[in-house]
Amino acid sequence: MPVLQIIIGSTRPVRSGEPVAQWFADLARADGRFEVELVDLKEVGLPLLDEPTHPRLQQYTQPHTHRWSEIVSRADAYVFVHPEYNHGYNAALKNALDYLFLEWQGKPASFVSYGGVSGGLRAVQMLKQVVHPWACTPLPMPSWFPLSAP
């Protein structure tokens, strides 16, 4: 069964992303077509990118990068659950994406966004561009909804 990772992109102490991701994970498990893993960037705890070479080379020097690479490599597809900050994606998610390259490559990805009036949709549009260099396949329609919490 293909592995679907639902990645909580926000690392804030109080975040809407956690219950939203939990809801989506429960829904995906009940659906039965995927083995579902919930991945929390807060628990992964990546510092700001500190690798000296391009991730395409996979010459990782830091233990946290090796761990992150192992986690992401396990999946066949991704759903990123993320907020919108200042009309864009949040820094923690972009940082986590930038750590790796080949691990994401070619796999389908989608987005579940939240926040403000836009429901995080502007962040989704930016993230679609971010994942394109990997030839990652973003789905045309994300799920998004307005929430007033962070």
Binding site: P19, Q22, W23, D31, F34, V79, K107, S110, S143
Partner: protein, 41 residues
Amino acid sequence: MISDGRFIPTTEITASAHAILDDLDSLVRLWLFNEGRPTLG
């Protein structure tokens, strides 16, 4: 909305989440096929 730490989706949101899973299911089969791990169905 979020109540007692749980996300309560609307019908429309739940429908869009199911649509995401449907699309992912199709695309992941293509990905697995390209990786030499084809699935049935």
